[in-house]
């Protein structure tokens, strides 16, 4: 479980996050939704400490994360897998080297054990026969899957995904959503996904937090979201004609 309590984040004079509190449950896909520029990515990066928060508290189970020293943060981060918006695969490494990277740094596995584990993770995300390719040689969807394989290589307890299906076609997006959901349930991971894709919300949203202009505006699940009378949420969810038509069915 991850909990954020009254967190705020400013860049200079600009307050990007204001007094956000939320609990992200274990074994569930927790979604943070909101339009572009609403502060979703800043919130996610603050949760993992890539941004220092201005105020508030971040808890991983019983450990307060934001006050930990560098060494303890580093230790805790080994339990966190993160999928970045642009995949963030290392250009200098092949597919299998990318997945083996955290194993090489943080485990005492020998080379054959690392290869075995990396292959297992790659097979889990349905990447076959691409071990020796470089990230620039594979498609965007494959890059996301390799990034997921890298994120789960160390058996993380927490998985954070920043817009995992941005730039992907609807079918591949759905595959990625399914994969993340399956991994979450299978390994009982606390998963947080940033998205503005309503398909993802309806497919994977066990819990949904709606961020609007840097504040938490609404919280619920994928069923409740369709019946909410929150105006800003309604404007966000039913922005397309298709969504409005479906609501009226």
């Amino acid at each position: 479980m991850i909990e954020v309590k009254n967190i705020s984040k400013s860049f200079g004079q600009k307050e990007v996050l204001q007094d956000i509190s939320a609990v992200f449950d274990k074994g569930k896909t927790n979604l943070i939704i909101g339009q572009s520029g609403s502060g979703k990515t800043v919130l996610l990066k603050s949760i993992v400490g890539l941004h220092d928060i201005t105020a508030g508290e971040i808890w991983y189970e019983d450990t307060r994360f934001d006050t930990l020293n560098f060494r303890d943060k580093k230790k805790l981060r080994q339990k966190i897998g993160m999928l970045f918006q642009g995949s963030a695969l290392f250009d200098f490494a092949t597919v299998i080297q990318n997945v083996m990277f955290p194993l090489e740094i943080f485990t005492s596995m020998n080379r054959s054990e690392r290869i075995e584990r990396a292959n297992f993770c790659l097979e889990r995300v349905n990447i076959i026969n691409a071990n020796d390719l470089y990230p620039s040689e594979i498609s965007g969807g494959m890059q996301k899957r390799v990034a997921i394989a890298r994120a789960i290589a160390l058996n993380p307890e927490y998985l954070l995904c920043d817009e995992p299906n941005s730039g992907l076609d609807p079918r591949t997006s759905m595959l990625i959503d399914d994969l993340i959901r399956e991994i979450t349930y299978e390994y009982q991971i606390t998963t947080i996904i940033n998205t503005h894709d309503m398909n993802s919300v309806m497919e994977t949203g066990d819990k949904v937090v709606f961020i609007y202009e840097g504040r938490k505006w609404w919280e619920g699940n994928r069923d409740e979201i369709l019946h909410s009378d929150n105006k800003e949420l309604y404007d966000f969810v039913f922005v397309s004609k298709m969504a409005r038509a479906m609501k009226n069915l």
Binding site: L50, R77, M82, F84, A88, E104, I105
Partner: protein, 241 residues
């Protein structure tokens, strides 16, 4: 700016988590930054050696001065200044742009964030092997440049007969001070730290898109060159006077 640079260096100069990976990275960087520079250093040193010799010969108009002095002056110009400072300025452009663009593009594509996320000290992992590789390999390039530069001088003398070849050979042997080689090597070691850490600093803190990475690269080269010249003065004052 200086504060941020030194804060970054504090992250860079710590013991690596996994020495085995660190040493592997040093080899990779030596190949990328050092071996790949051999050809450019060779070509430039050869031609500069020829030009330095011709210009020195043309300026020796006094008939009372022995001709072997042309070889001596050409040799000392190469040893003292060309093979360390000028080669460092050239490497600042070649290696510097490589480092700034590599680290800068890793920054803007969140690869550095991904490393930090995994608990890896990205500054140490990415920058320290480059610094160590350059400090070890670039002095070898300096020595190579000294040799090739003098060889270039010998070549042009033998081809143009601007002076007697024997005079030139006598000139490059006479009054040889071995400390000049040490001085050139020490200078290059210091310059190597400059031409790796400054571009790494600009790349590491790059923001925005590819244009900003390009801008960081340009700024890093200009800054590196200024600092090379500044430290050239300081080291010359410290070591030769």
């Amino acid at each position: 700016m200086a504060g941020r640079y030194f804060l970054l260096m504090r992250k860079v100069f710590v013991l690596p988590d996994k020495p085995r990976i660190f040493f592997k990275q040093i080899w990779v960087e030596m190949e990328k930054l050092g071996l790949s520079s051999i050809s450019i250093v060779t070509v430039i040193s050869f031609f500069m050696g020829t030009v330095i010799t011709i210009q020195t010969a043309l300026n020796f108009v006094n008939p009372l001065l022995p001709k072997f002095y042309i070889g001596l002056v050409a040799r000392d110009s190469i040893l003292l200044e060309f093979s360390s400072t000028v080669i460092a300025l050239i490497l600042a452009g070649k290696i510097g742009s490589n480092i700034a663009s590599e680290i800068g593009s890793m920054r803007i594509t969140e690869q550095i964030d991904a490393m930090e996320m995994m608990g890896v000290n990205s500054a140490n992992y990415l920058i320290l092997p480059k610094v160590v590789a350059a400090v070890i390999f670039n002095p070898l390039l300096t020595v190579l440049s000294m040799f090739i530069g003098i060889l270039g001088g010998a070549f042009i003398v033998s081809v143009t007969q601007i002076i007697m070849f024997a005079d030139f050979i006598q000139g490059i042997q006479i009054y040889f001070i071995p400390f000049y080689v040490t001085y050139g090597v020490v200078k290059m070691m210091v310059f190597s730290v400059i031409i790796t850490t400054i571009p790494a600093f600009y790349g590491y803190y790059a923001r925005g898109g590819s244009l900003d990475v390009g801008r960081s690269g340009t700024l890093s080269i200009v800054t590196s060159c200024v600092f090379i010249l500044l430290f050239n003065l300081i080291l010359t004052q410290l070591m030769l006077t």
